[in-house]
Amino acid sequence: MTTAAEPGQEVGKGRLRKEDARLITGRTRWTDNMSLPGMLHMAMLRSPMAHARITNIDTSEARQMPGVLAVVTGADLADSQGSLPCAWPITEDMKSPDAPSMAVNQVNFAGEVVAAVVARSAAEAADALEGIDVDYDELPVVLDMAEAIKDDADLVHPDLGTNSSATWIFDSAEAGTGGSVDEAIGSAEVVVERTFRQQRLIPAFMEPRSIVVDPTGEQVTMWSATQVPHILRLMLAMTLGVPEHKVRVIAPDVGGGFGGKLQVTPEEVITFLLAQKLGRPVKYTETRSESLASAHHGRDQLQKLTVAARRDGTVTGLKVELLADMGAYLRLVTPGVPILGAFMYNAIYKIPAYHFACTNVFTTKTPTDAYRGAGRPEATFAIERMMDELANELGMDPLELREKNWIKHEEFPYTTVSTLTYDSGNYEAATARAKELFDYDGLRREQAERRQRGDSVQLGIGISTFTEMCGLAPSRVLGSLSYGAGGWEYGAIRMLPTGKVEVITGSSAHGQGHETAWSQIVADKLGVPFEDVEVLHGDTQSSPRGLDTYGSRSLTVGAMAVLSAADKVIEKAKPIAAHMMECSPDDLEFSGGKFTVRGTGTDTGIADIALAVFAAHDLPDGVEPSIDADATFDPENFSFPHGTHLCAAEVDTETGQVRLRSYVAVDDVGKVVNPLIVEGQVHGGLVQGIAQALFEEAVYDESGTLMTGTFADYLVPSAADMPSFTTDRTETPSTTNALGVKGVGEAGTIASTPAVVNAIVDAIRHKGVDDVEMPCTPMRVWQAIQSGAQSAAGPGAEPGGGMGSLDAEGGAR
């Protein structure tokens, strides 16, 4: 439901993004486009071994090579590099190894940096890598989470004495928010248990990570392709001991992140140290292969779920037991990612008893961390798959089962078993609209006909009625979860003498369209033309405070700070306007960019006031010559977008090939500032979520080497692999922010993965299949059909027979 904007009103208008021309043509300041006088180039040597002791590094040949100015190893940096930060100690006894930017004695994943070369040119630096000889003593690799937590397992970090980093538990009986899950399971009429595998994914942002450090000014300036310039500056200071005020961080235009650039990276630290050491600007830009192997990965969990229910479909309890792969080290928010999911397994449902336990496990793989959705896609996938499994067990329509358990529109605000208070939502409306657009009943009919005919192409319908928590985050909630920072955001307005407006935001856009959306919001608020607003971001000098962009927080938190600053501008301008018009401030009203004396035609525009303030010749006594203002906004709650996604998948039972025939996404993201931007976020999110279901997986071989180290093997889909999406919106405004907005950056990714897998399983369930491991490759689907047909006569073939999805090879059950 697109609300038409009122004439002259910017919010609600589907404007093309003002930043697109420069971003799309690449004629802009990507970090790698930068070139500074005297700049040097760095290349990294990375370990081909997943787990090994470094016994010797010989750099003598490299040092003699043309153009080389420095070759450093971990030993050279050991005293200065500190340990990379982890800002989220989830438990008091969490085990966290030292995380050197450059390995000193031991490498713990393939791709870890063991040496770096700085040379006059990038080519010379790359050549010199071949002049470095590293001797390794191999150690046993640790690749399987379930094996890794056994008593006699080989250890990634022997000094920690275990591969288990921490176990985090929430129990509704203990928390007083619900009953005992064990009792619910014990007394249940129906119990369904399943294990799902969340495969490891790679964020695969378009712009590889790139860093330039200029140490020649009083402040050391770092340009980095990062999502988090403010956090990066603070963490550089804390990690390296450099005074915070001596560091400036700039995130120029950044080509995507998806959480993959929510990080303080080894490469940033190493580039900083080398530039300081050499006293000259240094640039490092990773190759795509380096990016795939060593930039942090996402997901990678084993999820065991047990759901208890009555025969009528009422869910009585949910137990979630997770193993989450940390990889070799805890990066910035690694341990907290699966914990974010803890609040989302109960999803849109009224679940009276809930238990969540997650054990974080070290392996000799690339560290994991935030990836679009971060914990919430995993949770949504598992619960939405379970609802389909339970519906099958009960012989109910899966949509009816969901409706029986979901929170009714009139029950909002609703406090869930996992302690969140959902402020608003209307699952009935979104579902009704989705069913209508999808032709749910017609497709069910066709499905039945194809089954009856025994068509080689079977049709399946997948459902995902999802919600998510976004707008990270109320600072006190983060505090209660032991997160190392708050969740506020900063904004400021600078009124220029000519009436133009500079907006400063602590959010750090990397493709989201902040410049357009913020301009629309401020144009409406201050009554100035859209074109007169410039949005500045991503530089710790121009935007001195900020907590950056991730977790669908920019609009719900960042734009609120800007809006609040704009309110202050109006308040500051008011006495000046009254003075200029010789009236009482109480007689003024502000609208359309003008202060009007109530009941008269007399008015003064905000631009006139800005000029008067600049001149400052005639201001009221005691009023400072500025109407600039800033504000910091700390949200009182998360926001809870939701929606109903329906997917129709055709499965070619002869080959296992899956073709998505139609996909309907009806999202409720509250009020919409720019419907075109929302549409773009939904489309991109859908593709990324569908990619998890069908295409993408980071695969390691038995020696811990990444097998999907190029885009020939790590299959990021293109438009050619996607159906045409049908999208629509319902609009239930958030009640916890002034604009009524919710986040939209992650919704499509969170919702779509289970919709697709549910559709595939639905298409071939009659062949004895009740799960296909992701990604649902043609071979896995075909094998599932083969072994499903075989097991149809054997144990476990009955509904809810309880064979784990991991029992059979190829993910078939």
């Binding site: 990038a122 790359a126 080959t655 299959l715 990021v716 293109s718 050619a720 043609p778 075909w782």
Partner: protein, 283 residues
């Protein structure tokens, strides 16, 4: 990444190119579009000392008729092959297979001869060349020789080209009036074939008079499915007959296992896709 340093020459005639190749010795590589070689160089999986770029040899581009054959210049781009009217008329199978290669950008840069000489068993053009009895015309310092496709593909990324020899033209007999189909199976649009089947048939009435079937990625080299061909000839083009013939598709194959498919699944696919390719070709 940045390739290791190499010398670069761009001759403008076949003679100059052959001479440059002879002069450069073992460490030279021929650049014929670069859609496979450049990534290999950038990842430093190979470090030839000299690249001989054939991009400026005009005589190597284009398609012409020579009696009962078409002659396709080795440097004819995939894009030009797909659009070429002679190929459409006399060797439709080649155009169909070529149109499935990678994406539009690759098809503009990559070349017919480059793909064949690269001899990637997952490449889509090898099986059609084999099925259609193409002949590879090569030039070296010792002159010209012609190698039948059946002898040209030796192993993974290995051909019968001798050191110093260039693939210059590919001669394809005319299959005027035949019907063809290339059935490619992959996971995303721009990817290599997991399995591909190239089929060309000559049908009179409803009877299959002649059949040519080649398999992509079912061995270290393209495979001619002669068992399928024999089983098709003389048959009515019915689904049952085609399906029965397709059961022979795995004969003589040695499929590999990789992340996309194990050997058993590849064998299964070869049968299913052969049936589909022949059915589509028979129209």
């Amino acid at each position: 990444m940045i390739p290791a340093q190499f010398d670069y020459v761009a001759p403008t005639t076949v003679d100059d190119a052959v001479r440059a190749l002879a002069d450069a010795g073992d460490e030279a590589k021929v650049l014929a579009g670069g859609q496979s070689l450049i990534p290999v160089l950038r990842m430093r999986l190979a470090a030839p000392t000299k690249l001989i770029d054939l991009g400026k040899v005009a005589e190597l581009r284009g398609v012409r008729e020579d009696g009962n054959a078409l002659v396709i210049g080795a440097m004819t781009s995939h894009y030009d092959v797909v659009r070429d009217p002679l190929i459409a008329e006399h060797a439709q199978l080649i155009a169909m297979a070529t149109s499935t290669v990678a994406d539009s950008q690759v098809r503009h840069r990559g070349t017919f001869g480059g793909s064949l000489a690269h001899a990637d068993p997952a490449g889509d053009l090898l099986a059609p060349a084999l099925a259609l009895d193409a002949e590879m015309v090569v030039h070296g310092m010792d002159g010209r020789r012609v190698i039948p496709a059946s002898e040209f593909f030796v192993d993974y990324f290995t051909t019968a080209l001798r050191p110093g020899e260039l693939l210059t033209d590919v001669r394809v007999p005319k299959y005027t009036g035949w019907h063809a189909h290339y059935e490619k199976f992959n996971r995303v649009a721009q990817a290599w074939s997991i399995v591909g089947v190239a089929a060309a048939v000559q049908v009179e009435g409803h009877t299959i008079q002649q059949a040519r079937v080649g398999l992509t990625n079912m061995s270290s080299v393209p495979v001619r499915a002669t068992g399928v061909e024999r089983a098709l000839i003389g048959q009515e083009a019915t689904p049952e007959a085609i399906k029965a013939a397709a059961e022979h598709a795995v004969e003589g194959t040695m499929p590999v296992a990789d992340g996309n498919a194990d050997a058993a699944y590849r064998e299964h696919l070869a049968k299913v896709l052969t049936s589909r390719a022949v059915t589509a070709a028979c129209g």
